[in-house]
């Protein structure tokens, strides 16, 4: 009987102590964790919004379900831009991204937040190109470049069909003329070998994003 009692007591005690220690750590870190979450959001917002706007968080009802949509407005003078999150099914995962558009639906910035596509293929929607080689870059500061894939969405209108050009090569390799020609077509380039992931995003823009923007604008 003593044995049994000992088992109970030891296991319970260890559990309690462990829980206590964890809870203690949590208490010490939870503010920072929360802040980290906001920071990421904030950084993304800053990236996709035009410079110099004042940001505010809002909610809008969605007509389809009794859900609400969280969005952010950025006000600069008389212009207002709207930022919100979109999620669409890509090749092997759901791609979560955030866009910011003008009231007319012209994208001022796009950032992919989360995805689990194939590395080297679909995952390149988040690719940040680094030109730096290891031997001349180890000590230096980290580059802060936006993903080229997101970059090309600037100026694209979600209210018109978005073209995917697979023939021109990838956007980061294009010269100014090529980029302009794309813009004129309201088009973007695909990631080679990942048309599905690319199309997932453009589809999301011309379907979900469009409805969200409508919902926001009332």
């Amino acid at each position: 009987m003593i044995d049994q009692l000992k088992m109970i007591v030891v296991l319970t005690l260890i559990s309690c102590v462990a829980a206590l220690l964890i809870a203690f750590t949590n208490a010490k870190t939870k503010d920072r964790i929360a802040r980290q979450r906001v920071v990421v959001q904030q950084e993304a917002l800053l990236q996709i919004m035009p410079a110099g706007v004042t940001v505010a968080e809002n909610k809008a009802p969605l007509s389809s379900a009794n859900d609400t949509l969280t969005y952010w407005t950025g006000v600069a003078g008389s212009d207002t831009v709207y930022a919100f999150k979109v999620a669409t099914r890509g090749y092997s995962s759901t791609i979560n991204y955030m866009i910011c558009t003008t009231a007319e639906g012209v994208i001022t910035g796009m950032a992919v937040m989360e995805q689990n596509e194939t590395p080297g293929l679909g995952a390149r929607v988040q690719e940040v190109l680094s030109k730096r080689l290891i031997w001349n870059g180890l000590g230096g500061p980290k580059e802060k470049t936006a993903s080229w894939f997101s970059e090309q969405f600037k100026g694209i209108s979600i209210n018109q069909p978005i073209a995917i050009d697979k023939t021109a090569g990838e956007w980061h390799g294009l010269d100014e003329k090529g980029r302009r020609r794309l813009k004129d077509k309201n088009g973007i380039t695909a990631i080679t070998g990942s048309t599905i992931s690319t199309r997932a995003i453009t589809n999301g823009l011309s379907t979900r994003a469009k409805t969200y923007l409508k919902a926001i604008r009332g």
Binding site: Q4, L11, L20, I22
Partner: protein, 341 residues
């Protein structure tokens, strides 16, 4: 205690309590008898439950070991390594008792340079396989087939087949486990006490005249070895001498006398006898020495031994009433063979 610390403690604590109680009750109510050895062995195992042994977890392996279904050698339990193997052996009580150390010997020396073949065997490299088609390719029906069934079965890498095609045991590596003895289809491997170092390297039962035709190291059943061993430790059975290692340990003269060089002495150079100044020339040694002409000297004079001819059998040692003879040299002293090391 603030509430944000309390909840966790209550939740985790109660889960702990729940299972504590559960396991406590279970350990009482659901007790099943297990072989205590299993628990003991389990205690020795690394407990990584990695499954590398091929058993479901450490307990499965422990069970198998305790039931003798597998060996606990280091290669089976990778994380445990060879260290635990010994510890487990202790539990199972399979540590070797102090027995006479034995070694395997191959009773054949008829390589392709010495024994003739009647055909060219081309088939599976395995002695049983050779036996199955035409009883092997040697003319000698008892000779080593040289296809190495024994080599493959030896866990200690102690046998190899020479390039002439006979199996040879490495005395240093052989542990006397006897696996090769069992496997040899010709039944020409046997265990001898390790101290002996002399054995008959032929298994042929044919009559001498016949043997001579096809093997230059074949036993012709001339019986000289029998005569050279007056104790009767060698008898001739079915045209082949049989050595009784229990009876007599000195087979050196027999080995020396064999005209066909059928005996193998694992000691390459034996120590030689030497007669010191105590010798009074009684000639007792001359009478017993199996090799004529080794010991010379006038009667009542100190005798001398021709070191080149002495075979180191040590028989003269016992014959000398004055203990004037001793063995000199590198080889093991013959006398020590009687005792256990």
């Amino acid at each position: 205690m603030p509430i944000e610390l309390l909840y966790p403690v209550i939740v985790v604590g109660s889960v702990g309590l729940f299972f504590g109680v559960g396991l406590a009750i279970a350990s009482k109510k659901l007790q099943v008898y297990v072989n205590p050895r299993i628990a003991q062995i389990l205690g020795l195992l690394p407990g990584a439950n990695c499954g590398a042994c091929g058993y479901p977890g450490c307990s499965g392996f422990a069970k198998a070991v305790a039931e003798g279904k597998t060996e606990a050698s280091g290669s089976v339990c990778v994380p445990g390594g060879s260290k635990i193997a010994h510890a487990i052996a202790d539990i199972l009580g399979i540590t070797a008792d102090a027995v006479e150390p034995m070694m395997a010997v191959v009773h054949c020396n008829g390589g392709s340079d010495k024994a003739l073949e009647r055909s060219r065997y081309e088939g599976i490299t395995d002695c049983h396989a050779a036996i199955l088609i035409g009883n092997g390719s040697k003319i000698c029906q008892d000779g080593c087939l040289g296809l190495g069934s024994c080599v493959r079965v030896c866990p200690f890498n102690a046998i190899h087949v020479t390039k002439e095609g006979v199996a040879v045991v490495d005395a240093d590596k052989c542990t006397g486990c006897g696996k090769c003895v069992k496997v040899c289809p010709r039944k020409i491997i046997s265990l001898i006490p390790k101290v002996h170092k002399i054995f008959l390297a032929c298994s042929n039962h044919d009559r001498g005249a016949k043997v001579k035709k096809y093997c230059s190291v074949g036993c012709t059943a001339c019986s000289l070895c029998v005569k050279a061993t007056p104790s009767g430790a060698i008898i001739m059975e079915n045209n082949l001498p049989v050595l009784d290692y229990a009876k007599e340990e000195n087979f050196i003269p027999a080995a020396y006398k064999c005209p066909s060089r059928c005996f193998t002495d694992l000691v390459k150079t034996r120590s030689k006898a030497n007669i010191d100044t105590k010798c009074n020339g009684c000639t007792a040694c001359v009478a017993v020495c199996p090799v004529p002409g080794v010991i010379s000297g006038e009667k009542d004079q100190r005798h001398v031994i021709d070191k080149d001819k002495c075979i180191g059998c040590g028989i003269c040692l016992n014959a000398c009433p004055l203990h004037a003879i001793s063995m000199w040299g590198v080889g093991p002293l013959v006398k020590t063979t009687a005792g256990k090391r």
